[in-house]
Every structure is written in structure tokens, then in C-alpha cells.
């Protein structure tokens, strides 16, 4: 479940930036860009929150140097 959420959240970030790249390339219009960005925003917060909320805050346990 956690892995699935992580994958969807990463895809949503792609979905967030891709419309603006397509708009810059002249491949889509601004209204569609705005709607897709909103959709990606919703997906991001729904899927990333459970994953990132539970991650340990600093100091990251993996990063702690144990002598």
C-alpha cells in the first residue's frame, strides 16, 4: 500500500509539471493546464500525506552517523 501511494504520488508530481511543459510547447491550452494542475495537486496531497507524514522528521535515522 505504502509503495503504491509512493508511486502514485511521484506520478502526480509528473502530472503537475507536465501540463505546463506542454503548454510551453504549445501542445495544450491554459484552461486544461490549470485543471490538470489542480487534479495533480489533489492526488499529491491525498497520496503523499500518508507516506510523508509518517516518515521520521530530522534527524533522518538512516542519516545518523553511528561510530
Amino acid at each position: 500500500m505504502r509503495l503504491a501511494l509512493r508511486i502514485v504520488s511521484i506520478l502526480s508530481l509528473t502530472g503537475l509539471i507536465l501540463p505546463s511543459v506542454l503548454f510551453l510547447a504549445g501542445r495544450t491550452d491554459l484552461d486544461r493546464t490549470k485543471w490538470l494542475m489542480l487534479l495533480a495537486t489533489i492526488v499529491w496531497f491525498v497520496t503523499a500525506t500518508p507516506v510523508m507524514w509518517k516518515e521520521p522528521s530530522e534527524p533522518d535515522k538512516e542519516e545518523v552517523i553511528v561510530p
Binding site: 503537475l16 509539471i17 493546464t33 490549470k34 503523499a48 500525506t49 530530522e58 534527524p59 552517523i65
Partner: protein
Amino acid sequence: MDSEQQAQTTAPSGEFEREPVPKSALLGFKSFVGMYAGEHCAGTELTLGPLFVAAGVGAFDLIVGLLVGNALAVLSWMLMCAPIATRARLTLYFQLEKICGRKLVVLYNLANGVMFCFLAGAMVTVSATAVGVYLKFPMPELTDIFPNSVGWVLAVAVVGGLIAVVAAYGYQTVARFANVAAPWMVLVFLAFGLVGLRQFIDATGIEIKSAGDLWHLASTQMWDGGDPQPGKVKFTFWHVMFFAWFCNMAMHIGMSDLSVFRFARKSWYAVASAAGMYVGHFMAWISASILYAYQLHLDPTDNAVLPGPLAYRAAGVAGLICVVIAGWTTANPTIYRAGLAFQALTPKTSRFKVTLITGAIATVAGMFPAIAMKLLEFVALYGLILMPMGAVIFVDFWLIRRFGLESSYAEKSGRLFNWAAGAAWGVTLVTAYLLVKYARIQIYFVSLPGWFVAAILYIVLSKYYQKKVRPTAAKA
């Protein structure tokens, strides 16, 4: 910016406050990259970028000025702040207390808290501009100093009030939410720039077939280097470079980030600050400036710097959400930290009450658009005010023994107020004020000579002070 000033938000806190960080608690490089990348993409970036355009900046001056200025900021973290942090491994406050004495640290806290309050006010202002997009009340103009409508006052009161209450009740919750929002926010900022660029291409009809065409568009339409907006100082390469270098001066040269890098295994980890600088203070500023330049292109008389409408025009509701979250997640720790600074003055008052009062002050400050509309000047002032203590720490750590003097003199002499450090701070600020007022040197440029003034004064005054006030051991 910084919020920069946000760098300590996710740093370990409440640990090793009065002792060096032990080896077992040191952090790897990755921690610092994440910390800086997320925390320098703040709500105020949406105001700072447009203000460069309002200052009539040219394309070369902006791009190269930001590249060089941010590089100097990173070098300042690497060469001035982190080497001391990784050797002493103490918080800024404990380091200052050893040098300056507890009472002078309280004074420093007060100055820091006041500046944080106003900075948080500017962040509340940013968030409130998003409310105006839907409620259509008159919003502040570029030259406004006082609130210009009841709707604006109410919007800031509601937004600021909510931020203050949440900061008082659930600081940690918002800090976690900010962690979730950070990657999303960075990409929304990037989207602002991409959308704005296309809008410019469409509006001007300029065809972009090469990098040369893009540069032509940038230098003739976006940042044409024309006259600044009324009431604004004309920005050159030097303004941009010094602003980018010194906008986080309190953190690097001012040594606030000693508290962050005391956890770094190596001092070169401070290169991680580049992630924050080139995401927040390069990409985000440029993106926001493109949106504002496009607004001016559409209507040269529409010069209000309002992040809400700017973001909405480019990215719709997602853009508005970004403005609200960017302002909220950065105002939250700023209000909280200002509260902590003030609590040091009145330790018996509850943290909840202090945070609420601090939030209320920030909210009232946010109602006055002068702070947000003059954010370039305010950020420069913020760095300037705290910088002299960074010079004192630098001299005390590296140089003072070479002059036959003692370091950490407040600790050794048992004094609560090291007058040499206090006078170096005060006289430097008075000197900077005189330079701005009478020598007509702009505030962006006085911090550099100011650092040398503070450093030299601290050495000279310490010669006298350390002769007069003998260490406790010597007395015995």
C-alpha cells in the same frame, strides 16, 4: 528568502542546547540538501521576484546577478558559518552567550523576534492576496503603506488569526504538512515560470527557435532594464548580486545556521545550501518575476505586486493553493520562532500565549502592505541588523587570540553583558544608518563594510574591555 530563516525548522531542536553535539548525533549530507531545498521556496519569493521587475532590472543583471550572488551566499555558509559550526558544535545562542553574556543574548533575541514578526507579517500578506481573488475587495497597490480597504483588513485578520492559532496549537503538525507540501510547491513555482514564458511568447508574437531568440525575449520584454516603478530604486547587477548574497545574511554571515550545521559531519556539507539558493532564490524568483512582467506587459499601469492574482492567472486554483500554503507554512515557524525569542524575555509566560500574541502582532503588521511592497529593503535590513553578531562570533573564534586576547570572554569573566560585543553591534548599526542617511549608500551595500566595522570594533573594544574586566579565575 527565507525564509530562509526557515533553516532550523526541521533541524533537530531541543537537543544539545548547552553542550556540543556528540558524534553519535551527526547527520549526513542528504539531510541538509532536503532541508535547504524545501525551506527556501517560501511565500515571500512570490513577492521578491516581482519586486526585481518593479525595480527595472535588466535580464543580464538579474540572471548573472542571481547566479553570482547565490554562489557567494553558498560560499558564506561554507567558509564562514559551517567551519565554526562543525568545530564548536554549539547552538548560535550558546555560542553567543559564551562570548557576549546572557543579557546581550536576550537583547539579540528581542531584535531577532521583532524582525521575525515583521517577516511573518509579510508572509500573511502574501497568503491574504489569494483570498482577494475570489472576494474581490480592493487590494494594496505597489506604493501603499497603509491598509486600503476594510475587506483587506478582514482578510489579513482572518488569515493571520488562523495562522497564529494553528502555530500556537499545532506547530509540529504544520511543520509536517510543510514537509509534504515542499516538493509540490517547488514544481508549482517552476510551472509559474513555464506558463508565464508561454504567455509572453503568445502576447509578443516572438518566435523562439534558439537560445538567442529566448534571450532576445527576456532582455527586451521581460526584464528590459527600463525605468523602475514609482518609488522604487533602480536595480543594477550590483543590487541583485548583493541582495541575493545578503538576503540570508542573518543565517550565514550572521551565524544563525550554526545551530543547523553543528550537526554536519563535515563543513563542506554547507554546499547543500545551494539547493535552497538555486531553487528558491533563482528559479522561484525568476518564475515569479516572469508572472509580474507579464502583468505589466498586459497593462503597464497595473503595477500592484499581488501574488494571489499573479498565481491564479498562471495556474488557476492550484496556483492560489500554492500562494496560501507557501505563506502559511513559512509564517508558521516564523511566528513560532519569534514567540520563542520573546519568551526568552518573559520565561514565565506560557509558550501558547506568547505565540498567540506574536501571531497577533504579525497579523497587524501584515495589514500594512508597506512591509510586503518594500520587502527587498526589509530583508536587507533584517540581515544588516543581525550581521554584526556574526562578525563578533567570527572574530572571537578565529582571530581574537592572535591579538593576545581571550575568546568566550563573558563565560571566562562571568559577566552577563560583554560591552565590547554590545558596543561593536550598536556602533556598527549606527555607522550603517549614517552611511545610508548621509553618504547616500543604499541599504543593500552597507552590510559588507559593516561586517569589517563590527569585526575591527570588537577587537579594539575588547583590548580595552578585557584589561578593565578581569576573568573570574584571574580575580581569584
